[in-house]
Amino acid sequence: MGSGDRWLAVGAAVAFEFVSGAAGASWSGNSQLAYVDPGTGSFILQALVAALAGIVVTLNIYWSKIKGFMGFGSKPTDAENSNSFDSADD
């Protein structure tokens, strides 16, 4: 891991401690049917990414609201329309 990587990993870990507030807790469950190797790094990272994703989702919601309030609501582009999936049914 290069020095830049280390710096980011440290920053991310600090951010995680800040947002999760769950220091010391751990999940002790163990599924006997989880035959796929989750990967140790992937397993550990996941909680961090899930927390960061929560922040991104929240920021996006507020950003859309601010844009809407200012009258800059974005119209979907043709490319977005051509996506085979719409999310309205969920």
Binding site: A9, A34, G41, L52, V57, N83, S84
Partner: protein
């Protein structure tokens, strides 16, 4: 009664697939019973099947021993591999997987694997085929399949979108997804401007590297259900926004080119349509289908067709058109016929080769022969051999040397093809097929043929050349 376990179904202890007298069945082991019951009673199965996200099945009444249940799933007509999909197909398969993961959480279950091989194209749309991929959700549990999703779907999509469409073929080498450190090394710096890509690939690869030699059991933080939903939402948002623009590939503008005059093109359509009406095949493989203009003649006649082409732009366009039109019988796939998909995975038996998956009784090869015989130096008789191995009937177009397209191929190379003539073509193909009809295409020097493979009896009776 002949039973045969499928070579692809051995990793998951929950059950396995097998064939009994040609019928595809799935045995569920007793250890999976609580999860299967939860799938069926929680409403998850019904919702997924109603939304055409999961393959439906019927329970077969012959359990005993280790088996908790035996299921007969609806059969997918043609099983394709993820590296045979275009960008949009892989993207749709990824979004289908995430939708299922989100729906499962809502019903108190979780997806325990996220292999791209668990998705197939069935009746024109992606569908999840592994009924045993669900387990009961336990509060605080992380998503075990997160790494697999990133490596099977996100990595190839990001590489195709940000670097080069051809990098999707890395899935052919890496059967369990493209390693994230490789993906990170190949992606351009601008990819990291996306917060989601930065998290799911850059940071993810870093964490994998940091913990790769860990031998002790790690403490994993509990992840709340809401956080898991956020994780899946961020993947959905990322995957849904990835784009690939098919500009400048070789074939996407073929029909706008100068191969045919308008009347010649209409004439070719009429002849192919007449041949199809005469042959009445149950299913078709269209080799070198381009954007599927002639496959659609088959589709209009209700004939399921797999439309193969080497150009990712053509396949992508064909797929998106089919989705838009709600076309259920057309399956466009990516294939380089000069190097077709091999049998691969464990003991060469995990995933089947192209020939092992042959499913059509008629092959169409229109405007293809010159690419095989001249660009790739395949002797005509070997082309005939391959087609004869694939199907009984054949609609094939011969493009002679005087055609502008062949002239183009020969412009800067030695013409080492003395047998590449109409007569040479008929001799080569006549040794494998009976020529039923030959029709010249108006305003061109090209000829269309309808052929039928010699059976052992007919060959003896008529003794072809």
């Amino acid at each position: 009664m002949i039973e045969r376990a499928l070579g692809s179904s051995f990793r998951d202890p929950s059950g396995y697939l097998f064939e009994r007298d040609g019928v595809l069945l799935r045995q569920i082991q007793r250890c999976y019973a609580p999860h299967y019951d939860s799938l069926m009673t929680s409403g998850l199965y019904t919702e997924l099947v109603d939304r055409s996200l999961l393959i439906p099945h019927e329970e077969v009444a012959d359990t005993g021993g280790e088996a908790y249940r035996t299921l007969q799933p609806e059969r997918v007509a043609f099983v394709s591999h993820p590296f045979e999909w275009s960008f949009s197909q892989l993207q749709d398969a990824a979004l289908t997987t995430l939708r299922i993961a989100r729906t499962a959480l809502r019903h108190g279950m979780i997806l325990k694997d996220a292999s791209a091989y668990n998705v197939q194209f069935h009746r024109g749309a992606p569908i999840f085929i592994d009924t045993l991929s669900f387990e009961k959700y336990e509060e605080g549990a992380p998503w075990v399949a997160y790494r697999q999703f990133c490596e099977h779907f996100l990595a190839p999509l990001a590489l195709m979108s940000y670097r080069d469409i051809r990098l999707g073929q890395l899935l052919r080498v890496h059967i369990d997804g493209i390693p994230l450190d490789l993906t990170r090394a190949l992606l351009p710096r601008r990819a990291w401007l996306s917060v989601n890509l930065f998290m799911h690939i850059w940071l993810h690869a870093g964490y994998q590297r940091r913990y790769r030699n860990t031998s002790e059991r790690v403490r994993v933080r509990p992840i709340g259900k809401k956080s898991l939903e956020n994780l899946i939402h961020s993947l959905e948002s990322l995957v849904g926004k990835l784009r690939w623009r098919a500009a400048g590939t070789e074939w996407a503008e073929y029909y706008a080119g100068d191969s045919y005059t308008e009347s010649g093109s209409d004439d070719k359509c009429e002849i192919v349509a007449r041949y199809l009406d005469c042959a009445k095949p149950a299913s078709i493989w269209d080799l070198g289908a381009n954007t599927g203009a002639f496959s659609r003649l088959a589709i209009e006649r209700g004939i399921p067709t797999v439309a193969f082409d080497v150009d990712p732009a053509c396949v992508d366009r064909s797929y998106r058109e089919a989705r838009r039109a709600g076309e259920t019988r057309l399956l466009p796939l990516l294939l380089d016929l000069t190097n077709p998909s091999p049998a691969f995975g464990w003991a060469h038996a995990e995933r089947a080769s192209l020939i092992e998956r042959r499913s059509a009784d008629l092959v169409m090869a229109l405007a293809l022969i010159h690419h095989l015989a001249i660009s790739n130096n395949v002797p005509l008789v070997r082309v005939a051999d391959l087609f004869a191995e694939l199907a009984d009937r054949l609609i094939v177009e011969f493009v002679p040397k005087c055609d502008p397209k062949v002239q183009q191929l020969l412009a800067n190379r030695e013409d080492v093809f003395p047998d590449y003539t109409r007569e040479g073509f008929e001799v080569a193909f006549g040794s494998r097929f009976e020529i039923e009809e030959r029709t010249p295409i108006r305003d061109s020097e090209r000829t269309l043929y309808l052929m039928r493979r010699w059976s052992a009896d007919s060959k003896r009776a008529t003794s072809p050349p």
